[in-house]
Symmetry: C2
Subunit: 454 residues, 2 copies
């Protein structure tokens, strides 16, 4: 049992100074906020606590709950600074990404994913949703343990010290029924049943959840009904994620192949529900937005990736107004900085509407914390409250970026960057301190150096 | 005379490893690149130099020329994290900005501008173009020295250690002839002649240039011909900057008042030339783009501010193709990070076109270095070459952001952030080292605290 005295912390009902939190077995067992309660006895007790503050560990700075990164492809980290300069479209970028996908073996993947997850922890991320499709050997042959690559991700998260939801991805086709080719043979299980059987065998230790995903409606067989019905069973009571309408071409393909938009195809088969996360959700028609909203689905926006890949700006505000729940992801990991993702949702909406103030800062923080965690199957994380998993992310409010900014939710959303995180606690364990940045940089250099040296 | 051995540096013709530069009286007097010359004697000499490398100061990391920030309002730094959350439009944001403008006196302005310029130096900026309009006392009365506020900016730059071009701004009207009101009385000189007389008396020490600016065509008198003709004299042989078509409303107002777009109005009076910088240049018609291009005018894009204020995405690629020359500015200083501005030009163009690869990374670095410096009247800065002012900005390529990214121009543009700058040398003086960040944060906190405490 350890008690921390947080100089300033974001509780579910707002900012409080001098908050004492007590952590036991990885959860908050007490959260005391001495100066906003009017019970005289409690006040006296709390003043007492203050007098004995030497017994608690003082945490200066601005402390927020742990951030949930709801959409990551860990291995894309090797592409940072290497494909951003390319010309072309999303589709030409994908060819470069496949070149890395073809190179990775389990050892290299473990090293790369571990270092990438460490960078996430250094950015205040306490839980990652890893959209996992790199399942099989280079020629498509399953490994002896067909879940070896998934197990690598679980192990990487354990070493890095954060929670993981493995979103094990069904990928049957290169596009509306066409056979997988090139790097795609590593993704494909042949049938939905084979996928389900494999994924069911992936073991999840305490820090992990295994859940299902569909790569996108592009990767369904020509007659998708049976596959979608099977997936609906998976999506009923656990997280289910799917890339949705990231590109206009996906919509056109779906309309040509199935006569429905991707959203409506999923809805028609019971795949839109309160455990579904639609990733990107960029190019939607009014009816799509209404469907996602009425299903209370999650949407995972990844604005820095959506900029990078030229996806466009999705209708985040209209989705939220319709009832959908925003979460945030670092996706391609060209940037790992959920502070940047938070503000980018608002700023990109400004660019296309020429108006300001679509999102309240507090709501963007909620997207990055409680809502994000819920979409990954961890509803008991993302808030500094009794019973929740004890994640604490502390920002330095005295750096050149953050100094003089008011130390509130607008500092978090509009001033802070990943580099301002001074410590990250996950389930009561101090996983990251600012001085660890050097070692994380070295780990990334080593891991990525090996990918490109091969 | 000091010699530095740069581990890896960006020279005018590309990246070179183990570059020796010798600095005397603030300029590069030798730049030696031992391994790419094929003169055997030179090679032998250079190997000799390597053997005696102990005599030179080794600079590990990625070294680039100094960055020029071509558009800044230093005092807006006090608004970071305080207005970004607001609703409304550019125009409602402006009211909040005016609230700070009303509070500042020369002492407070000196402290705030100094700390803000220090943050710039920490971000690798070696020269700032300060778009200066806060001229007079709170009620519009000139100070005893009518250039007191301009002198404050020159002094702030001296203390912070960077070059400054004071773009002293003519502001005659609140909008197409209407009288200045509120904070605007601090900006106005009454007539163009009074402005010219005042600005001519502002003394520029060696680290400063004084140049002219027009706030925008909005701030011209109802009959603008005489004023524009006077400004054309100023713009002939020294930098001249003007906010141009940042908002659709400015275009509409100009068409209503003058029957011309802002660009064409300036062109009609000889105000578009190779020393003119059009700031923002967001909402342009085809003919505007052609005019700016054929004039070889500079355009200062400020993408993070343009996002923040909901300005929209300007046609950077089309302007450059037409012949205009791109530079970059931090403008509102809600972010001070020209690395972010570089990539934002490309990424925002991707968002609106859904295609990638509009700008080469090398061209974005050129915008932020040589072209930026030229637009501020310092054509002998922004390159690591003999005769140029000896500015060197060194990036750490081993941080979590930059590790494993290839250490080339794509690292600079697509991975690095201001926080990765480990040192900034300006005209041979080491002005910033990474450890100074703490003190800069304190200076910002102090200065901004005073603004809001008043």
């Amino acid at each position: 049992m350890t008690t921390y005295l947080l100089e300033r912390a974001l509780l579910p009902d707002g900012w409080r100074d001098e908050v004492e939190v007590t952590v036991e077995d990885g959860r908050f067992v007490e959260v005391r906020d001495p100066f906003t309660r009017f019970d005289p006895q409690a006040l006296a007790d709390n003043l007492g606590i203050h007098r004995s503050a030497g017994e608690s560990v003082r945490v200066p700075g601005l402390t927020i709950p742990g951030l949930a990164n709801t959409h990551s492809h860990a291995f894309h980290r090797a592409l940072r600074g290497r494909t951003q300069a390319g010309q072309g479209t999303f589709w030409t970028w994908r060819e470069q990404m496949y070149a890395v996908a073809e190179r990775l073996d389990p050892d290299g993947y473990l090293e790369l994913a571990t270092a990438t997850f460490q960078e996430m922890v250094a950015a205040g991320i306490t839980c990652v949703g890893e959209f996992h499709y790199l399942h099989h050997g280079r020629d498509g042959t399953p490994y002896t343990d067909p879940n070896e690559m998934g197990a690598v991700l679980v192990e990487a998260a354990r070493v890095a010290g954060l929670r993981i939801t493995v979103l094990d991805t069904l990928y049957l086709s290169s596009g509306f029924g066409a056979a997988p080719r090139g790097a795609q043979v590593r993704y494909a299980d042949g049938s939905a049943l084979a996928w389900a059987e494999r994924v069911s065998a992936l073991v999840a230790p305490e820090h992990a959840i295994v859940a299902g995903a569909l790569h996108s409606v592009r990767t369904l067989p020509k007659d998708p009904a049976e596959t979608l019905n099977l997936l609906a069973g998976w999506a009923a009571d656990r997280p289910f994620h799917v890339h949705l309408s990231e590109q206009v071409a996906e919509n056109e393909g779906a309309l040509a192949a199935y006569g429905l938009t991707p959203t409506r195809l999923l809805a028609a088969h019971g795949l839109l529900g309160p455990m579904t996360t639609a990733v990107h959700a960029t190019h939607l028609c009014d009816r799509d937005i209404a469907e996602l909203g009425s299903a209370s689905a999650f949407v995972s926006f990844c604005p820095t990736t959506e900029r990078d890949l030229g996806d466009g700006v999705g209708p985040s505000r209209r989705l939220a107004d319709a009832g959908a729940r925003l979460t945030l992801g670092s996706d391609s990991n060209a940037v790992i900085d959920l502070f940047e993702e938070m503000r980018a949702v608002e700023l990109d909406e400004r660019l296309v509407t020429q108006r300001r103030g679509h999102w309240r800062s507090a709501d963007l923080i909620e997207a990055a914390t409680t809502t994000g965690h819920a979409s990954l199957g961890w509803p008991d994380a993302g808030a500094i409250a009794v019973g929740q998993r004890a994640d604490l992310v502390t920002l330095d409010t005295t750096t050149p970026r953050t100094a003089g900014t008011g130390a509130d939710e607008h500092t978090v959303v509009f001033a802070a960057g990943a580099g301002d995180v001074v410590s990250t606690m996950i389930e009561g364990r101090l996983i990251f301190r600012h001085d660890d940045r050097e070692e994380i940089g070295r780990a990334l250099s080593r891991a990525i150096g090996k990918v490109w040296a091969e």
